[in-house]
């Protein structure tokens, strides 16, 4: 099963290997995950490999996203789930899901 992760967190090239960062603002990665993977499991895995994600997006100690983030899951370009503080245990990912992490206050 394949999912895509898109981080609008101004992390740029700090993430390094695996991520594509066409600009400092956005970083993207495609990943293969097992059936039944939750958002929590996915981000725990990412945070383990990428320290900037552990420092800014997912707190591994608390097993939770940091506050003041918006996390949304889209499928075929449409928003399926939109969570300021995600129900990370409840959300099981599906093939083709795209997960976007945005700053809470998105401007304007």
């Amino acid at each position: 099963m394949h999912v895509k992760v898109e981080l609008w967190m101004s992390m740029g090239k700090a993430l390094g290997e695996g991520f594509q960062s066409p600009s400092e603002m956005v970083s993207r990665i495609g990943m293969s995950v097992e059936e039944g993977t939750t958002l929590k499991k996915l981000f725990d895995r990412l945070a383990e490999k990428y320290p900037p994600i552990a420092g800014k997006i997912f707190d591994r100690k608390k097993e939770d996203f940091y506050p003041n983030l918006t996390v949304l899951v889209t499928s075929e370009g449409r928003i399926q789930s939109f969570l300021d503080i995600p129900d990370i245990n409840g959300r099981i990912l599906k093939d083709g899901d795209q997960i976007k992490v945005l700053p809470l206050y998105a401007g304007g």
Binding site: E6, W8, S10, P22, S23, E24, M25, V26, P67, N68, T70, L72, T74, G77, R78, I79, F82, L83, D84, I85, D87, K100, L102, P103, L104, Y105, A106, G107, G108
Partner: protein, 620 residues
């Protein structure tokens, strides 16, 4: 005159009767400061007391109320915001709008917490304020000039440098009473909503100039304030993307959320967004900081275009709403053209939001054959034709030609006049309220807020709701009819308290820390509950004002297009209208209003608005 003993205020309001060319000073008493705090609170108090039902927005009897807040000029970052409150033409109901820059701080340093204009001058005038005194001066030589020219001319005449004074005024749009004329100053700061610039034009008031002043503002606990300012700065730096990329930094994330307006809401697909956002601008164009008064966040910059047909053009960096209006909403993909149109709309003194809706609607009408070159007087009004847009904006501001005059009354009135299918394509909230520059079909909180508001713009929300900032449970589903309607009511109040402070919401993004600054300045010991009470008092005062001035609750709904279902993009298929009547009914109930949207006597009593109970009797 009794001196107000609470720190953070000058205790004086400058009164200006433009008909009689009379100026006097009025004291603010303790009770007023306690009950209404400042900013929009003072505006709501004076507007209600002095503008009786039957007064039209353009009547000399209407008031134009400019007020600062207790934090203006205290050293809180960017705290130079002032609030404008009046009865405005877009809704012919109450309107409240804020502008940043320097004015709020300079006015207090010159000895006043606010200015109230009444009457109508026989000739065009400006007001000059210095060292506790004010003078009405002739401005006939400024007639027809844009806001930049007015600033240049007045500084030259007064022999002052750029930051020696703060100047806010109107351009051709205000003089010609375009319904969405704004008040613009300090090189691109704008009080935009509900045609406050048209009210200024109706009073024949071209500009207000205030000297930077010399007075200190008394602060109850300077050490505590210093500490809280530091905390507020750290919070704001890390809240969102403003510090690094300006409000344009949110452009692409707003696209991800399905909230970017594209071609008058006919689609939500705009793949060019990554070349139109704040980061692209700061990395590819030349920019330099142009901060507001004492602001370390400094999200505003001057920009020089370095790519495309407008290379070399210098203007203010477009904020998110200008990027949305002059990019996707009109089908444009050239960022340099956005800089050009941003400066144009500000110079003319127009609200960029309504300008975007009205131009986008006219473009759709042109595409679909409702307007031809006959109606446009030769303009090829195709999507993305930015030079045609520039010409059209100038015609609107001067009410020139058939289309310029039609569109100058705003998109609601223009579309109603044209009628037929075109009437369904206009984007507005039913009372005539202009939505801010998003596709709110992807931000339900703001769509709902804009329809039930009493301020003529967002009242409860601010970029959606963030209830965790005031210790409430966070949003779980922003597309839940139940959650949106309930949160709109529960969260309502704190943002109006914000608008009493004289601070900028971007530099002061934590309501709790703003409250702590307020307590440090004034010596009060208010809680969040107290702040909510003040905010809800303002909302209810304006609600009763609006009801007495003809508010129709059946108009508290979006226009057909504004409330339509997106056909593509991230929010495809989401339908806020499915439960609209229930949402309104639930909201009224939670606000303590009856089924007709009238505040119940017990609600008004609880908010110390007992006098309003009698005023409401007899209204349906």
């Amino acid at each position: 005159m009794v001196n107000l003993s609470v720190s953070g205020y000058t205790g004086k309001i400058l009164r200006v009767d433009l008909s009689k060319k009379r100026i006097w000073v009025e004291a603010i008493d303790e009770k007023t400061a306690q009950k209404w705090v400042g900013g929009v609170g003072f505006g709501a108090k004076y507007l209600y007391a002095e503008v009786p039902p039957g007064t039209q927005w353009s009547d000399p009897g209407n008031r134009l109320i400019w007020t600062t807040g207790p934090l203006s000029g205290t050293g809180v970052m960017g705290a130079a915001t002032f609030n404008v409150c009046t009865k405005g033409p877009m809704t012919n109901l109450a309107g409240s709008s804020q502008a940043n820059g320097f004015f709020g701080a300079y006015l207090k340093f010159s000895g006043f917490d606010g200015i109230i204009f009444e009457g109508r001058s026989a000739n065009l005038v400006y007001l000059w304020i210095k060292e506790g005194k004010a003078e009405i001066r002739d401005a006939n030589h400024l007639s027809g000039k844009d806001v930049w020219e007015v600033e240049d001319q007045l500084r030259k005449e007064l022999g002052v440098r750029e930051r020696d004074v703060s100047i806010f005024g109107i351009g051709p749009a205000g003089e010609n009473r375009a319904y969405f004329a704004a008040i613009v100053g300090d090189r691109g700061h704008v009080a935009a909503h509900n045609g406050v610039g048209a009210v200024m034009g109706a009073k024949n008031l071209k500009a207000v100039v205030v000297d930077k002043g010399k007075r200190n503002i008394a602060i109850h606990d300077p050490e505590r304030l210093k500490e809280k300012i530091k905390e507020l700065f750290e919070f704001a730096k890390n809240f969102g993307v403003f510090y690094k990329w300006g409000t344009g930094g949110g452009f692409s994330t707003i696209y991800s959320l399905g909230s970017l307006p594209v071609k008058n809401y006919t689609t939500n697909i705009y793949p060019e967004h990554e070349k139109m956002n704040g980061q692209y601008m700061r990395e590819h164009f030349k920019t330099r900081p142009a901060p507001c008064f004492l602001c370390g966040i400094s999200h505003i910059r001057e920009v020089t275009v370095t790519e495309g047909p407008y290379t070399g053009f210098v203007g203010e960096e477009p904020e998110y709403e200008q990027l949305a209006a002059w990019g996707p909403q009109i089908g444009n993909t050239d960022l340099g053209a956005v800089v050009m149109l941003t400066k144009e709309v500000d110079k003319l003194g127009l609200d960029c939001n309504e300008s975007g809706w009205v131009v986008g609607w006219a473009m759709e009408c042109f595409e679909k054959g409702i307007f031809t070159k006959k109606e446009t007087d030769g303009l090829e009004l195709t999507w993305g034709n930015v030079e045609a847009v520039r010409t059209l904006l100038n015609r609107i501001a001067r009410r020139e030609g058939y289309l310029g005059n039609l569109l100058a009354n705003g998109v609601m009135r223009a579309s109603q006049k044209i009628g037929g299918k075109a009437a369904d394509w206009a984007i507005y909230a039913g009372k005539g309220v202009t939505p801010r520059g998003h596709d709110h079909r992807g931000r339900w909180s703001e769509l709902f807020d804009g329809c039930v508001t009493n301020t003529s713009t967002i009242e409860s929300s601010s970029g959606g709701y963030h209830p965790q900032l005031v210790d409430m449970p966070p949003v779980t589903d922003p597309f839940s009819h139940e959650e949106v309607s309930t949160l709109n009511a529960n969260f309502n109040g704190i943002r109006q308290f914000d608008d009493c402070m004289g601070t900028c919401r971007l530099a002061s993004s934590s309501p709790k820390l703003v409250l702590e600054c307020f307590n440090a300045v004034t010596g009060r010991n208010w809680t969040l509950k107290d702040a909510f009470t003040v905010g809800k008092r303002i909302v209810n005062q304006l609600r009763v004002f609006n009801l007495r001035h003809g508010l129709k609750i059946e108009e508290e709904r979006p226009s057909t297009r504004y409330g339509s279902i997106p056909i593509d993009g991230p929010t495809q298929g989401k339908n806020i209208m499915e439960k609209w009547p229930w949402m309104v009914e639930n909201y009224y109930r939670l606000m303590g209003w009856d089924a007709n949207g009238k505040p119940l006597p017990e609600t008004l009593e609880k908010l110390d608005l007992i006098d309003l109970i009698e005023d409401l009797r007899g209204l349906r």
